[in-house]
Subunit: 332 residues, 2 copies
């Protein structure tokens, strides 16, 4: 007999069966298939289970059902406030659906992602994957191995949740044009990032239609320092407004502009993307295109669970909203 001395011994189904005077089979049924058990038996079992504080061991259950009740969530960098919001969404919805969530932060290292997914794969029913950079073929391979839903990345044949970037960009440009801006800079994010490519694509389309002159720069890291590092180059161009790849980059710009004595929005308008919480905490508050974050996480879980139940392929595209705040104003 090898019992650890970890104080608390978990109560098993056998114990419940013994105390209730029934077989383990009946205990299972009373708990997960109530209608097939005679009411009096069912109640007795449930009471015993409750009084003993019995909770089925999910690992054991998963062994036979093939369902673990766990989900995996991969994000590139928790330090970007965009992702904690998504995590909150995933986590909240997963718990509502009585699923637990494995979290892995890949530290912006696409190479590590596949490995992490495969390690988690055995312990989860499916994976919510935020991977802006992993190569398409690899992503597709992965999705074939384990049920996967992509968040903020779209690939043919893989369920995904994204946002209407084009519409967001349209709102952003309309706003700037209405303020009289005609020459606008775009500070690009990582070249291989799907989100960046989408934003560039949308931006060019909208710019052409609106007749604005676009000045593209970058690529920079999708972080605060990325914005800081390119701010001076933005100033060197003759633009009246700048759109940053994301809010973090925009904040970096703001920071350096302030240091250089450039007044925002009087001398220059700044517009971000994402609407991370910080966006309204700074001065001037950042005008930005809000992307659904918690909602995206929730939708990701919804899609995944649906996928697990019926193998249907699904895709969802969430709306975006321009949040006009202090960092944009009339063209000088």
């Amino acid at each position: 007999m090898t019992d650890h001395k970890l104080g608390h011994v978990a109560v098993t189904i056998k114990e419940v069966a013994r105390v209730a005077g029934v077989s383990t089979a009946t205990v299972t049924r009373a708990l997960s298939n109530p209608e097939v058990v005679r009411p009096t038996t069912r109640e007795r079992v449930r009471e015993v289970a409750a009084s003993l504080g019995y909770h089925p061991n999910r690992a054991a259950r998963g062994l036979i059902t093939g369902r673990t009740g766990n989900l995996g969530l991969l994000v590139p960098d928790l330090a970007n406030p965009f992702f904690p919001s998504i995590v909150k969404g995933v986590q909240g919805r997963a718990h509502e659906a009585d699923h637990a969530v494995f979290l892995a932060d890949t530290d912006e290292d696409p190479a590590a992602e596949a490995g992490l997914v495969r390690k988690l794969a055995k312990q989860v029913d499916g994976i919510v994957l935020c991977s802006p950079r992993m190569a398409e073929p690899e992503l597709r391979t992965l999705a074939a191995e384990v049920p996967t839903v992509l968040v903020y990345r779209r690939i043919a044949g893989v369920p995904s949740v994204t946002a209407e970037f084009l519409d967001g960009m349209r709102q952003a440009i309309s706003h700037l044009v209405a303020l009289g801006h005609q020459r606008i800079a775009y500070v690009a994010g990582p070249r291989r990032s799907w989100a960046n490519r989408e934003r560039v694509r949308s931006l060019r389309a909208v710019a052409r239609k609106s007749g604005v002159e676009l000045c593209e720069m970058g690529n920079v890291a999708p972080q605060f320092h990325g914005g800081v590092s390119i701010a001076d180059r933005v100033l060197a161009t003759e633009v009246t407004a700048v759109i940053a790849y994301n809010d973090l980059v925009a904040l970096g710009l703001l920071h350096r502009f302030a240091a250089r004595g450039v007044a925002v929005p009087d001398d220059l308008s700044v517009l971000g993307f994402d609407d991370i919480p910080l966006a309204e905490m700074v001065h001037p508050a950042l005008t930005t295109v809000a992307l659904p974050k918690e909602e995206a996480g929730q939708a990701g879980v919804d899609l995944l669970l649906r996928l697990l139940d019926s193998h249907q392929e699904v895709r969802r595209e969430l709306p975006t909203h321009l949040m006009v705040r202090g960092s944009t104003g009339p063209a000088r």
Copy 2:
């Protein structure tokens, strides 16, 4: 018949055994107890395992060994940038130790925490718990049920990782005193929060010793809006400097001060606690007492793993550092 199906169907130990021409027992040994297997056999098995892409099913293993290789991590609110940093630390160290991490965000609801812990308990070897508010007795009960390490909370009899608040406060006050400040406000965080109580205690001790006049206010929510909401009351007092419960609150103060036209640090100095990444992104950058975050997460995992191996009780206290930045200056 050799069904060669790559990927989709998980390869089991049986399959490896069959291909390698040995028993499953030998496969296990070759993989997790190499020295007891004849070298030639061992190598053959390992090669087959590798070529088949075999990874043991941890749930099944856990069933018999009592070790799942999983850790649980509970945080009160991922929206406070303080916690993602801790999560990164936990997550990184756990992966180094080949453990996966379950994450749960309790949404600042201490009542939900115990339930979440118990739900996770069955699937993990131990739990890293960030719970500034849960009542002590309950916490102690929980810790008796499942191996637990507290992060940023200290309770007799439960392993924990904290920081030297007293020393941090000493540095903060010395800094302000050196700048000529004599009347200082403290904006308190949640009354029941352990961190707040510690900070108040330290602050009073240091203030008395330094002869500074302390003006305590609050309690406010540990968030941006908490700071915003109390800013005007701070202005109504005759202080030259204010220490906020944490950086988020400090940022709220900064925000409202800016709106009121109060110049920081010229009219008023502001000092925060935590050193969240945002602290240096705002203007003026926030002077703050830096708390180890990733390190705390890592230490939490270290303690937990140690605890699991030897049932030793441990405690660790990490150093703090004052980060002097733009939000503090000479007393007016």
